[in-house]
Point group: none
Chain length 225, copies 2
DNA sequence: AGATTCCATGCGCATCCTGATCGTCGAGGA
DNA sequence: TCCTCGACGATCAGGATGCGCATGGAATCT
């Protein structure tokens, strides 16, 4: 999952980026409204954290522009405490959730998780496909009840596929959502990690759709068909 | 474990801080309601000691604000003796326990211990992981029955991990809960103390989860897997 | 003075990326 | 139906990187 942070205060911004990365997200950081807007318009994000008090362009304006352009990623807005007017205006502009500054990082992460979960149409914090279970809160993966050790990249890849269970996910899409901005797009890392995951979780978890990409099927459905 | 004291009377405040520190807590001290509220909102505390008779903002108001913002740390309220009305109002505002002034520091510590124990979901005053036992009352640690001498920081680190057994705890989280406000966050002290604890208690007590942090596993559970 | 805590440095290993090679699938022709 | 060939995907090994560990000495506290 890839996230954009638009936050003008450098210290807070960097701290957030680091925290989110520790929680298994790919993170881009933008420090002003104009750049932030550009990033959100050109790159593929699964969620955006947007501070309202920005230089150059106001956060609400940026949000409005995105929605006008048809960007649908969930947006978590950071507001000053007790700022009622901001809250109302933000709702109108298309924000999905709020967090008043100052906030606890734990709460930010919990809310982001919930946003992404909702936006991908998953109802539970635990993602399941056959014998494979991934708990998005603890970051633990189990195979038939047994805990499995995954590396950071393996986890990101599996997590994205699980969030989009049943859908065919192209290599490009995976690269866009697993890595942050500066990454060489011409490489076969995705294949490498698919191989690794298959070794750890069994060869049937991820299905290859030749020429299109990968798909993660719930064996229950396959058995039916 | 890190604690915030909000107490306007400087003598009592400093005395409390020192007592709690001697008992293995990291302590921040705030002398008025406004600052106290800010601290509680921005930093990570495992418990708060809150005096109701404060200048600027009243203690109860501060407590109400925290709860509205979603802060869940347990709060121990200090009231004047026989102040029934305070007690009722405090309960409504979300206090977890009471202590009437004047009080014995021993009782304060005992109650704090109980509060933290409950809030972290531990039922006993003795925390156990494999051969390692930590008695939160006496502050003693034993390995397979044999007493082990830990330094202050070693104890704090181990105690926090034991309170959150099974959870993956990031380096940042550890720093936030082991040290008080003014501490340089860029250093490798956590690693150093982890090394030290491993030397005293054995290499398998603390598990490293690369890129994420540390985790303390109950061998009983590992044995199952 | 002694213990404790903190910081800086160098080392080792897990992880990740790259590039090469091998395997597999499927279309088209005989 | 079978074979051939081209394109795509899978796998493997080597090397770079960064993270965590260990250690000694400086700074700090008791």
């Amino acid at each position: 999952m890839r996230i954009l942070i638009v936050e003008d205060e450098p210290t807070l911004g960097r701290q957030l980026k680091s925290t989110l990365e520790q929680n298994g997200y790919a993170v881009d950081l933008s420090t002003d409204g104009e750049d932030g807007h550009f990033m959100g318009s050109t790159e593929e994000y699964d969620a955006v954290v947007l501070d309202l008090g920005l230089p150059e362009i106001d956060g609400l304006t940026v949000l409005g522009m995105w929605r006008k352009e048809g960007r649908r990623f969930p947006v978590l807005v950071l507001t000053a405490r007790d700022s009622w007017s901001d809250k109302v205006a933000g709702l109108d502009a298309g924000a999905d959730d709020y967090l008043a500054k100052p906030f606890q990082t734990e709460e930010l992460i919990a809310r982001l998780r919930a946003l992404i979960r909702r936006s991908t149409g998953n109802s539970s914090a635990e993602l399941i496909a056959g014998d494979v279970r991934l708990d998005t809160r603890s970051g633990r993966v189990t195979l038939a009840g047994e805990p499995v050790k995954l590396t950071a990249q393996e986890y990101k890849l599996l997590s994205y596929l699980l969030h989009h269970k049943g859908k065919v996910v192209s290599r490009t899409e995976l690269i866009e959502h697993i890595y942050d901005q500066d990454f060489d797009r011409d490489s076969n890392t995705i294949e490498v990690f698919v191989t690794r995951i298959r070794k750890k979780l069994g060869p049937d978890v991820i299905t290859t759709i030749r020429g299109l990409g990968y798909s993660l099927n719930d064996p229950a459905q396959v058995a039916r068909g």
